[in-house]
Amino acid sequence: MDAEIVRRWQEGDPAAFEALVRRWQQPMARFLTRLVGDAEATADLCQEVFLRVYLAGPRYREAGTFAAWLYRIALNVARDAGRKERRHSASLESVAPKAQASPADHCEQQELTRLVDEALQTLPEPLREVLVLRHFENLHFEEMARLLSTPASTLKSRFAVALDRLRRTLQLRGWTVEENT
């Protein structure tokens, strides 16, 4: 289905690009939020992803799938955002703490989301990428291997390590197995 929409878009149909955006904006939002860990930045990052897609559209050739191409762009946007964030943090004398949920806004769902995002951010980037792509985007390791230019066996090992570390981090931050049952 993506191939047909992309073909129409490349032939000059603006509605086709809009259809692609509507179809993929929420998956991209999910992917970027989990990878970058900043829900407030998600909208801007999504905007950046689709801007790059729009500009690179004429050059897109169906060597793989459109989804793989899109994830590659989103991964680069996330990595660029991560680099900017690290440079910004390093240049500040005192790092401002992230805004905490106010008591009025506090709810279990938001707390859980915050816990997951913070735990994900403690993982090194290579582990976090594999975990997010496998769990949230349901990419199989062979597809991931092409996307990340890393052997599938390496990615499988990284995924196991990532899940185990995430479990330990969640437990350290008060998460228990019996919660939310």
Binding site: E18, V21, Q25, Q26, M28, A29, R30, T33, R34, A39, T42, A43, C46, Q47, F50, L51, Y54, L55, Q109, L112, T113, V116, D117, R134, H135, F136, H140, F141, K156, F159, A160, L163, D164, L166, R167, L170, W175, V177, E179, N180
Partner: protein, 215 residues
């Protein structure tokens, strides 16, 4: 049969369906008999459920803003390429102008002379060089002496040829300049005649011509 260390390294793969049939069967058999690994597997299942519960803010990409940003980027790239193209064209034009109009290349006194500026006045053609007998340097074999003499003669003839070509080129340039002057004079004469005829027609039709007067 597998041990606990091997089993735990494959729990994530089993949970996400990434193990093939026989491996999955072996691992499940181990889990049935090992409470510790079974507990570990249950914990990973809970982690997976917790990850599923994390929500994502709804996002609507602003297509208007996207198209505006794309337009701005494309225009700035175009401006950059135009600047590069104009600079390159200007450089090329300068080089072409410099090399095609004012460059003078000559062979003079056994060296290549490159000069800028207008070509000098045509000089009288040099007389053809007279062959000279080259005395053999002491100690050289006779056949080599002949070769040296022939080479020197060839170089002299080449220099003379270059000089005469240069003179012909200068004469041709002078000729072209004269031709341009003649054409300019003819053009001015024709224009004067045309202007006179137009004035005459004007006078014949409208009467005497005074400045500012209406016909």
């Amino acid at each position: 049969m597998i041990d606990c260390l091997q089993a735990r390294s494959h729990l994530a793969a089993l949970l996400y369906g990434d193990l093939n049939g026989p491996e999955a069967v072996t691992l499940r058999a181990h889990l049935e008999s090992c409470p510790a690994c079974r507990s570990e597997y249950a914990t990973l299942e809970r982690v997976r459920q917790t990850l599923n519960q994390a929500d994502t803010p709804p996002v609507h990409v602003d297509l208007v803003r996207l198209h505006q940003a794309a337009n701005q980027l494309q225009q700035s790239r175009l401006r950059r390429w135009r600047r590069v193209a104009v600079t390159a064209a200007a450089l090329a034009a300068l080089l072409l102008l410099a090399f095609s109009l004012s460059l003078e290349v000559r062979w003079e006194a056994h060296q290549l002379v490159v000069r800028w500026g207008h070509p000098s006045q045509p000089t009288p053609a040099p007389s053809p060089p007279t062959p000279t007998v080259v005395s053999a340097p002491a100690g050289l074999p006779a056949n080599l002496v002949d070769d040296v003499a022939v080479t020197k003669e060839l170089v002299r003839l080449l220099a003379a040829d270059l000089a005469s070509r240069d003179q012909r080129q200068q004469q041709a340039i002078v000729g072209l300049q004269l031709r341009v002057e003649v054409l300019q004079r003819q053009s001015q004469q024709r224009w004067a005649i045309t202007e006179r005829d137009v004035n005459a027609l004007y006078t014949a039709y409208f009467g005497s011509k005074e400045k500012g007067a209406n016909p």
